[in-house]
Homo-oligomer: 354 residues x 2
DNA sequence: CTGTTAGCGCCTTCAT
DNA sequence: ATGAAGGCGCTAACAG
């Protein structure tokens, strides 16, 4: 029924071994033989059986990419960048590796499940993007799982998430703390004192680091000072909207709102407008990430630009062994403060009118 | 070295076949035996070898998703929706299917290459999203390739792209023509007569259909009437910016700009603003797709909402055989006109001041 | 319900 | 540079 390598061999009047060598190109084959084989492949419309060759060779050309939400450009950009770097040697058609993008939805269980599935596929490499859930239990499970993967020869790269010690996984961590701090210092230098903070889900490393940076920018130490101007929510627009209403309720005199990311910031902007407040005259707003749409918001969003594409591309190259991992297997990726129209000096009277 | 099914069998004192049956759950096994096997799996930390089982069973749990650009939410939303529907029966961990997301970058060659790669992996199903390149050559190649896939038992679903006759592929096509037409009629009813159109790449079906709808809305027949107010570009923000400048050059008296999609529309808005033109007082702008950020533009973008998530989810279900394909294997997915702040009546004087 | 027996299609030493 | 042969790890009939 389905044409196999043996069929090709028969038609080309060579042994299966020779066909295999031609197809994999990892071995010297006479030009004339190669041509004959290739022609037979054409004529028979032969397509290699991936599972069979993976089984025999004990390797696979699958590369896993874990993301929290593929519909979010934050992850889409990184996933696309990783993918652009995992093409096979020569970039030839057929020599390529396939990216398996796994949508975890931010769930630790699904994250682990997908890693098992990738392990089952004997993935050549795995790239985990974005923040991690930071609980002792999940950390332990992840450590075990990642170690097993690296032990089995799968290269593991963390892109935009903190290192997992003792696993052999390379980490390109975003400087969320520094970014959060710079953002807050920017607002403070403008004269803001009552700054609301819309944080992401409490358990995520990204949330914690950005919030810690914010608090550091405020001059607060660990666990010090009041939290009444911090509201947690998910990383979406609606959460930004709701949190802003809540912050305004807690302190109508707010002069600035710092959001967990740009998407949340857009929700915050919408809420402020619906409350009749002007940006930035009445309330300044800032986001994080600098996604493509952020510059098109009105006014354009002040934010911290994270080099998502570059980081993803680097992760992809490291995963493919085409670039040296950073010393110690850990690199910190800095963000750049982008000051735009959505932040300005606070109103003189200090109280936003509703 | 690596633990195999036989090792588990030995430890559980059963035959390999029994272990396989427990793991696949497709066969009656005594509860006590199952428990014993499961314990052995735990103790040995055994992970099934995917390639081996795919080879033996002649099936795989990989599902391909082809997208033009995974960083674009238009595709990200569909990909995420497909992925949410391809979980295995019971939704159990391990019973899942893996989504292989392939970024074609809009290149016909890469599209074909990825299909071959998926064919090689013996993918259970393939979903192709977004517009296709519409050339005789590529159509022929795609027809051949898709037929081969469906012949091999791979379910193929086209999501947001026109049918490919004679292939057994199910198509959920977006009503781009109708959307384009309604958008233009909306502008016309507002009193606009000089409408610029920023089209996507000329060869894509999406571009052609939307543009044809626009021309129909203008009351023009096929190939009839002047094209001086149509500019082609890629589907990105910069293209929208550049095209708008060009349109303004061609006709400074323009009162409206229709963009190929929302992203392009944002670029158009930026260009208009940079030219000192107000939206919609001087020039109305409309997009297409209704991506999440469109409602946050200022003013909010008038556009055509495409049910991307719903369509992707349906495509996923059909691909998994969990939903009947539409009659004839073809369904048209309609868009909904969303009238928002970016469109309004044209200026009385009819000429935009620069 | 469980064990036995053959392959699935390819890669890879080992020869030649 | 090419051929021969064994096995990668698992599943799918068949028996029992």
């Amino acid at each position: 029924m389905t044409v196999t390598l043996a069929d090709v061999a028969a038609r080309a009047k060579v042994s299966p071994a020779t066909v295999s060598r031609v197809l994999n190109g990892n071995y010297p084959v006479a030009a004339s033989t190669r041509a004959r084989v290739l022609r037979a492949v054409e004529e028979l419309d032969y397509v290699l059986n991936g599972p069979a060759s993976s089984l025999a060779a004990a390797t696979s050309d699958l590369v896993g990419i874990l993301v929290n939400d593929i519909a979010d450009p934050f992850f889409g950009i990184m996933a696309g960048a990783v993918q652009s770097e995992i093409v096979g040697p020569g970039g030839r058609a057929g020599g390529e590796r396939l990216a398996v993008v796994c949508n975890t939805g931010g769930s630790p269980e699904r994250e682990l499940t997908y890693l098992t599935l990738l392990q089952r596929q004997r993935a050549a490499a795995v790239v985990l993007t974005g923040g991690a859930v930071d609980s002792a239990e999940h950390n332990a499970a992840m450590t075990a799982k990642l170690r097993r993967l690296t032990d089995a020869g799968t290269r593991v790269v963390l892109c935009g998430r903190p290192p997992v010690p003792g696993t052999g996984a390379v980490a390109l961590a975003f400087d969320n703390h520094g970014g959060g701090q710079r953002l807050t210092e920017h607002l403070a230098s403008l004269g803001h004192r009552r700054i609301g903070y819309i944080a992401g889900p409490p358990s995520r490393t990204t949330t914690r680091e950005r919030l810690a940076g914010h608090r550091a920018g405020l001059g607060l130490g660990e666990g010090e000072g009041p939290d009444e101007l911090v509201v947690h929510g998910s990383y979406d627009r609606q959460a930004g909207y709701d949190a802003t209403i809540e912050l305004l309720r807690r302190d109508p005199g707010l002069t600035a709102v710092l959001a967990a990311n740009d998407t949340v910031a857009l929700g915050a902007c919408a809420a402020l407008r619906d409350q009749g407040l002007r940006i930035p005259q009445d309330v300044s707003v800032a986001g994080f990430d600098d996604l493509p749409f952020s510059v098109d918001a009105m006014p354009a969003l002040t934010t911290v630009r994270l080099p998502l594409f570059e980081a993803g591309a680097r992760a992809g190259r490291i995963a493919m062994g085409r670039e040296e991992p950073p010393p110690g297997g850990i690199a910190k990726v800095r963000g750049e403060l982008m000051v735009r129209g959505s932040t300005g000096a606070p109103r003189r009277d200090g109280a936003a009118s509703r």
